[in-house]
Symmetry: D3
Subunit: 172 residues, 6 copies
C-alpha cells in the first residue's frame, strides 16, 4: 500500500450524501437488525423487495442458530435515516418480529464513474470505482451481461471478462 | 404504507424501558459479540441458557469462516446495560474468549397485548403487537401450541393457524 | 497413522445393527433431505424433537440460499430403514414440503463402553469410543456435566476437563 | 401418527414419474454437487436460473468453509437422469469447477391437487398435498399472493393466512 | 447449449481414475460425513490438513443447527475408496465423533491441460478444463498469483484477470 | 455469579490500549463490514491475510443470502482506528466493493499471562486469561500443539488436554 498516496487526498465526510461522483464518508446511515424464528422464507424474500423499493441501500439474510434449536434468520437492512420509518413499518407489517434493533454506521463510498464496453455480443455499461483518485473497481452491469450471455449462448463469465478487459483498456 | 398514519403517533424513546404495553424505542441496550474458534458447540448451548437466565434479551450463533480455515462461531448477545457485567462474566467463564466486543443499539419495540384463543384442542395464549396503533403481529405461544399438538396428535402448524384465526376474529 | 494396526482387526458390516459394544459398519441406514422455503423455524425445532422420538438417529438443519432469494433450510435426518415410514409421515405432516429425498448411507460406528468419573462436584458418566481396539474418544455426558456445573457454580468446561482427565486415568 | 392408516395405502415406486396427481416414490433422480471457491456469487445466481430452465427440479447453495480459509459455496442440483447431461454442461460452462459429484436419490412425492381460494383481494390458487389419502399440505401460490398483497397494500402474510383458511374450508 | 456437440463425444466411466488428461466419470469415490457438536474449530482445521495429506480429494465444513441448540459443524470429505480406511482413522482420532457416514459418489471430471501465462509481474501456470473437447475453464494457480501480487504490490484480482486474458489468447 | 466479587475490581477504559497484561476495555476500535456478491472466495482468503498484516485484530466471513438469489459473503474486520485507512485501501483494492461500512466498538479484554507446559511430547506455551483477578482461560498455542502432535503421531486433542492439565496444575 502506498501510504503517501493514501494521505494525499482528503475524503470528505457528509450527512446523507447522494452524489456518488465524489469519494466520501456518509455518516447518516443506519443498520437495522431483526431476528426471525417464526417467519416463512417466502415472506422474507418479499420483504427484501419491499425494503429495496422503500429506499433501503442493502438488505440481506444471515443464518442463525437460535434458542430452542431454531434455525432462524437475521435480517439486516442498511438505509438512510430518512428512510428508516418507512422501512420499519414494512418490517413490522411483513415479518413476525416484535422488535427492531438499530445502530448508526458510516459508509465510505468510492467515487463512481461509468464507461461503456463494446463487446462482440453487445454494449455493456461498466461501473468504475476510484479510491483516492486511483481506479480500484471495474464492475460490468449484471443485468446486461446476463441478457447478452443468454442471447448469444455464451457463458456469463466470458461476457464479464471481456467487458472488464475492454473497459480497462478504454479508461486507462 | 400509509405515510400519514405513520406520522400520527409519536414513538417515545426511553432508557431501559421494561413496560411493554406501549410502543417505544429503548436506547439502553447493548450488543455483545464474541468470536469463537476453540469452543465446543455443547458448551455454547449451555452459555446461551446461562445468558438468558442472567437477563439477556436474545442470544444467537452465526457461522463464520475464520483465519487458518477454522469453521468458527460468532456468538451475539443483546442485553440491557444493567445486565452487561453479569453476562460478560458468563462469557469469559464459559467460553474460551479473551475479548468481548460491545456496541450500543436502540431497540424499537411494538406495544404488546395478549389474547386467548379457544381452539378445539385447548386454550392458547396469543401475543399481539401494535405499530402506531395498528395490529401487525399475532403470535401464538409456542410452548402451549406444541403441548396441545402433541397431546391431540395434530400437526403443530394446524394449531398455530387455528389459534391465529381465532385471535384475529376476537380482537378485531 | 499406524497402517499395520489399522489392518489387524476386521470391522464387521451389519444390517441395522443396534448393539453398540462392537465396532461395525451399519448398512441399513438412510439419509432424508427436505428443502424448506415456507416453514417457520419454530415448527422445525418441533419437527426435530418429533423425529428423534420416532427413532431418528440424528436430525439437523443446514442454511441454504434458494431460488427467488429465499433464505431457506435444508432439514437432514439420518435413520434406520425400519423407522423411515414413521419419520416421513412426521415430515409431511409437520413441515410444508411436498417431497422427501432419500438415499442409503453406511454408518461406521465405534465400539462403545462407559466409565464413571468421580469428580469433586459429583459423578459423571463418560462414553468411550474404540477404533480397532484403541481408545479414541472420551465423551462426558452433557446433561450431567451441565447439572453439576450449575449446582456448583463452576464453568461447564472445567467439569468436562476434569471428567475427561479422570476417565482417561481410570480406563488406561 | 396413525400407524394403521400409514399401512393402508401402498406408495408406488416409479422411474422418472412426472404425473404428480398420485403419491409416489421417484427412483430416477440425481443429486449433483459442485464445490466452488473461485466463482462470483453473481454468476451463481445466473447458473441457478439456467439449470431450472434446463429442467432441474431444485437448485440451492450451501455455505462452506474450505481449505485455505476460503468461504466457498456448495451448489446442489436435483434433477432427473434425463436432464443430467444438459445440466452438467451448464455447470461446467458457467461455474469454475473442474468436477461434478453425482449420486442417485429417490424422491417421495405427495399426491398433488389444486384448489382456488376467493380472498377479498382476489383469487389465489392453492396447491394441496396428500399423504396416504390425507391432506397434509395447503400451499398458496407465492407469485399471486405477492401480487395481490402489493396491489391491495396488505401484508403478504395476511393474504397467505386467508388463502389457507379458505382453501381448508373449501376442500374439507 | 449445443446439444449436438454434447452428444458427439462419449465420456468414459472409470474406477479410481487418476489420469486427468482425459474427461471421465470416476465411479470409485466416497463421501464421508461427520456431525460434530463437541469439537473445537481449531482441531477441525488440523483435521482438514491431515485428511488432505492422507489422500482426500476435498474436505470442507458446513454449518449446522443441531439438537439442543448446538451450532455444530458437518465435516464432509471426498476421497477414493482406497484412501477411506486411512481417512476414517484420522477422523476417529482427531475429531470427537463416534460414527462416520459414507456413501458412494461418481465424479465427472474435465480433461485438464496446463498453459503458462507470461504476465508483466512474472510467469503464471494456468489450468485449463475441457468438456467434450471444448475449453470451459481457465484457472490461474492461486499460490503463484498471490506471490506475484504481493511482490509487485498489485491487487490479486488484477493478476488473475491478466493471467486469464493471456492464457485465453495463447491457447485459442 | 458472584456479584460482589464482580464489583470489587474496576476495569479501566482505555483508548487504543496495546498492553495486554491488565484487563481493560479498549474504546478505540472499529468494525468494518463489506458485503460481497461478486468476489471469488480465493481472493477473499488473500484479503484476510493482507488485512491481518496491516494490523487488523480479526477478520472473518459470514455467509449471506443477498438480493437476486446471490449466495454472498459478509466480510467483517475488527481493527484500531489507527489502522483503519490502511485496511480500507486493502478492501477497496482487493475485493470488488464500492462501499465499506464502519462503526465503533469497545473491546473488553482479559488480562493475559503466559505459562509453559512441559508435555511428554515437548514444551507448549499456554496463554492464560484473567477476569477480575480470577483465571478463566487456559489456551495452549495452536501452532506448537499441531507441530508436536504431527511429530509424535498423537491426536492434537490429546496434546491440548495434556497442556491444559499441566498449565492448570502449575499456575494454581
Amino acid at each position: 500500500m502506498d501510504e503517501e498516496t493514501a494521505g494525499e487526498k482528503e475524503i470528505p465526510t457528509l450527512w446523507e450524501q447522494r452524489d456518488h461522483s465524489v469519494e466520501h464518508v456518509d455518516e447518516g446511515m443506519l443498520i437495522m437488525q431483526v431476528n426471525l424464528d417464526d417467519s416463512s422464507p417466502e415472506w422474507l424474500a418479499y420483504v427484501l423487495e419491499q425494503c429495496m423499493r422503500a429506499g433501503a441501500n442493502d438488505v440481506h439474510f444471515l443464518p442463525v442458530t437460535m434458542k430452542k434449536s431454531r434455525p432462524g434468520t437475521l435480517l439486516q437492512v442498511m438505509c438512510y435515516q430518512s428512510a428508516a420509518e418507512a422501512i420499519k413499518t414494512i418490517l413490522f407489517s411483513e415479518t413476525t418480529t416484535f422488535g427492531i434493533r438499530t445502530f448508526p454506521v458510516a459508509c465510505h463510498r468510492l467515487a463512481r464513474r461509468f464507461a461503456t464496453a463494446q463487446t462482440q455480443w453487445g454494449e455493456v455499461q461498466v461501473k468504475l470505482g476510484y479510491h483516492r483518485g486511483k481506479r480500484v473497481q471495474v464492475a460490468p452491469e449484471y443485468a446486461v451481461c446476463a441478457q447478452l450471455a443468454e442471447a448469444a449462448q455464451v457463458p456469463l463469465k466470458q461476457v464479464y471478462q471481456e467487458a472488464i478487459r475492454l473497459a480497462v483498456e478504454k479508461v486507462l
